[in-house]
Amino acid sequence: MSLGDVEVRSKSRQIFYSIILIAFSVPVIMAFSMLVLSSFANQMVTNFDFSKVRFTLKNWQLLFQGRIAITGGLRENIFLYLISTAIVALGVAIVTTLVGTLSGYAISRIRFKGRKFVLLMMLMLHALPGSILIVGVYFLYRLWMPTSLNALRYFSFFYVIIARAALEVPLSVWLMKGFFDLLPWEIEWSALVDGASRLKTWAKIMMPLIKPGVVAILIFGFLAGWQDIIYVRTFLIDKTLATFIESNLEAEMAYMPLLAAAATLYLLPTIFFYISSQKLLFKVYAGGIRR
């Protein structure tokens, strides 16, 4: 351990660094705080002048009633949007995790021709933004889409999940390969010698050992699906929370405190996951996995 490591720094220095980090975080914390405050206010909180701000639960009430305006109007089904968002997020998380863990295991353990090339290609694919790939993905969608509207509705969920997960898979494969690389061969050998199949060894022996990594890519996959806007807007027939907020945000006459409530609702899973998985994620990045 070098002298420059955090653990051996003096307390005053640690406090100094903490102050700097907090100072840098202030704008972000302020922005989120104002958003959350606005969701409970009669108008957007954009500064510290609270003289005209009246706090109320009305925005949340309107949101759950699905009303985008104070008076009258069509009702939106927010619960349906929440379910659509969750389906996409969970779908992306499951596909990413399944493909990432299986491929990571194969690439780590099996020396096959073109292995390095596959790894490099995946890295390159990860470097490309999803918006660049969308033209090709759009044409593939058009090729395969069913004609019946009901079938198309299910297909659009399936397609968004697969297309969005494809963007997350390269990172998850790389990450999982790293985890499997760290596990000694002997553990696996003993399982194979005892008669377990490759798949059984992977599922029963290897996976429990790399639980933090699996949980990490599960969370990343979920958040990627939850936050996606380009793919869901282009392909999904149903709306998600992201497209609901986007479609009303730009309008000059939008009732912003209600959208602040929608945005706060949209933030909740992200905050929940980061808080609950903070320690786990720290384990993954700071020291690999603990065995």
Binding site: I70, L149, E252
Partner: protein
């Protein structure tokens, strides 16, 4: 006399829709013969929250068609499977643009007429011309100018759903404080005797006397057309049909920017106006009496009543204005001429019912019955143009009616009373959804306002249907912001705008720069 006129118009409307009704019956029989008992369509609409009849009008039209079929023992039903309403016009247009080729966009789209050109160009809209040739009488009820803007390359791709004027509002109580006589002012504006030179003088006096904080408030935003009225009020134009190019008139734009510059420098207009929030700043400033003049739209009239913009001095609580308060406080005229010798103007951006070229694609036997599904889609839109549906939309959203029969209904007190009590033949689901807005907006004061401002349509203009117009308008919005904030004077702002136009090769090819900055022109002695 008025009653007689009403009866005549109603008879005309009955006759008018008799032929549409015949077509509805025919289409119903064709569908029934082919074993179709249920036809599904989706409608997408957009706009301010009070304008929900833009989609509910289609729901109501479907119910009326179902009633006609039931009356003729035809066992077919139209079901509106999806009603989607969003506030943002552009977002919905873009969504339609991306989903129409996939067949997952709405079968009906209600949006600004400016989107007709790009959507028709892509082949995404149904050409309504042959149906309108068959039902020529339907066209007679619409204002001709509004049908003209529904055309692209000589074909009609939309039916007008509503229109509007942009009145120049004046606070009556503040005008009284500073001695501005409003009696017959609208006529003076109409004759070009009250121009922006006068607006400036009164705004200055008002602020100097402390009668209000500001002299003028206008909207923020990007490509909205409120401020383009200045160019027209200085006798220029936005588009030249002779060569199909957008026009950048240096002289008119210089004069417009000078007004913005002078007003902001003298603190008659906020220098950060282009960043003001619609609900938090713009409207509360107007309804709380912080400005003498305001450039707005007809829809402001009901928006002030249905949104909590006004801070009641007695309770300190924010609330909507009562119709009597709006009538008592606000005077309205045309947008005054820019200078003596020029004419007043207003500007409209009619909304249109548009039909997707894939309307009804999700229904059985679509390829065999495409022409029937197309015709039915047209008939739904034609039925949604029933004078009653249009008149209800007008009064609850403060947009102007697009037809003569609906305008006549607005002038009918008996009908207004029925509407207020919801004793109108409407689908129960539609009634339930508009009940709150009806109670807040249907009254003789609002009907009179709409009737009073209807003359403005004789002086209206339309923003050009040009694919590059939005880009040019965005440049205008940018330079207005610079001028208001004092970062550029009007002449420099014009150079900057021309630089931006030239930097974009497509825009450069589409814009014609005319005239020069006038050297001897003075506004307010500046």
């Amino acid at each position: 006399m008025r009653r007689l006129l009403f009866v005549v118009l109603l008879c005309a409307a009955v006759l008018l829709f008799a032929s549409v009704e015949d077509s509805i019956v025919q289409v119903g029989r064709t569908l029934e013969k082919n074993g179709i008992n249920e036809v599904r369509y989706a409608v997408w609409g957009t706009g301010d929250p009070n304008s929900v009849l833009r989609v509910l009008g289609i729901v109501e039209a479907a119910r009326r068609i179902n009633d006609i079929w039931a009356k003729n023992n035809i066992n077919v039903k139209v079901i509106i499977r999806e009603t989607r309403y969003e506030l943002d016009f552009t977002q919905m247009y873009q969504e339609f643009l991306s989903k129409q080729p996939l067949g997952t966009a709405g079968d009906f789209l209600v949006n600004s007429y400016v989107y007709i050109a790009p959507l028709a160009e892509e082949g995404y809209l149904l050409d309504l011309t042959p149906y309108l040739e068959k039902h020529k009488e339907l066209l007679d009820d619409f204002f001709a100018s509004h049908i003209e803007v529904a055309k692209y390359k000589g074909r009609i791709y939309g039916l007008p759903q509503d229109t509007e004027a942009r009145p120049f509002y004046i606070r009556k109580d503040i005008a009284a404080k500073v001695g501005l006589d409003l009696h017959g002012l609208d006529q003076k504006v109409l004759k070009g005797e009250f121009t922006w030179f006068d607006v400036y003088e009164w705004a200055k006096k008002t602020v100097q006397l402390g009668a209000s904080q500001w002299g003028l408030i206008h909207r923020r935003g990007s490509a909205h057309p409120d401020l383009m009225q200045f160019i027209l009020a200085f006798g220029s134009k936005l588009y030249d049909p002779a060569d199909g190019k957008l026009v950048f008139d240096k002289e008119a734009i210089y004069k417009w920017l000078t007004i913005e510059w002078v007003f902001a420098r003298e603190k008659l207009l906020p220098s950060d106006m282009m960043a003001w929030d619609w609900a938090k700043q713009v409207h509360p400033a107007i309804v709380d009496g912080k400005t003498l003049f305001d450039i707005g739209g007809t829809w402001y009239w009901t928006e002030w009543q249905t949104k909590d913009y006004y801070t009641d001095p007695k309770t300190g609580q924010m609330r909507g204005l009562k119709p009597e308060e709006v009538e008592q406080w606000f005077y309205y005229t045309l947008f005054p001429a820019g200078e003596p010798g020029k004419k007043p103007v207003t500007l409209s951006q009619p909304f249109m019912w548009m039909v997707s070229s894939k309307a009804g694609a999700q229904n059985p036997k679509y390829s065999a019955l495409k022409s029937t599904y197309d015709e039915l889609a047209f008939l739904i839109v034609a039925k949604a143009s029933d004078p009653e549906i249009n008149a209800i939309h007008s009064i609850i959203s403060a947009h102007l009616p697009v037809g003569k029969a609906s305008a006549a209904l607005l002038a009918n007190k008996e009908w207004l009373d029925k509407l207020y009590n919801l004793q109108i033949d409407l689908d129960p689901s539609v009634k339930e959804k508009i009940a709150g807005i009806v109670k807040a907006t249907v009254n003789p004061i609002n009907a009179k306002f709409l009737s009073d401002v209807s003359y403005m349509l004789d002086h209206t203009n339309f923003p050009p249907i040009h694919p590059m117009y939005a880009k040019l308008a965005a440049i205008f919005a940018e330079v207005v912001d610079y001028v208001l904030r004092g970062q550029m004077d009007p002449a420099k702002a014009i150079d900057y705008a021309i630089g931006k136009i030239n930097a974009d090769l497509d825009l450069k090819a589409s814009v014609k720069i005319i005239n020069e900055i006038p050297k001897d022109w003075r506004f307010a002695g500046k």
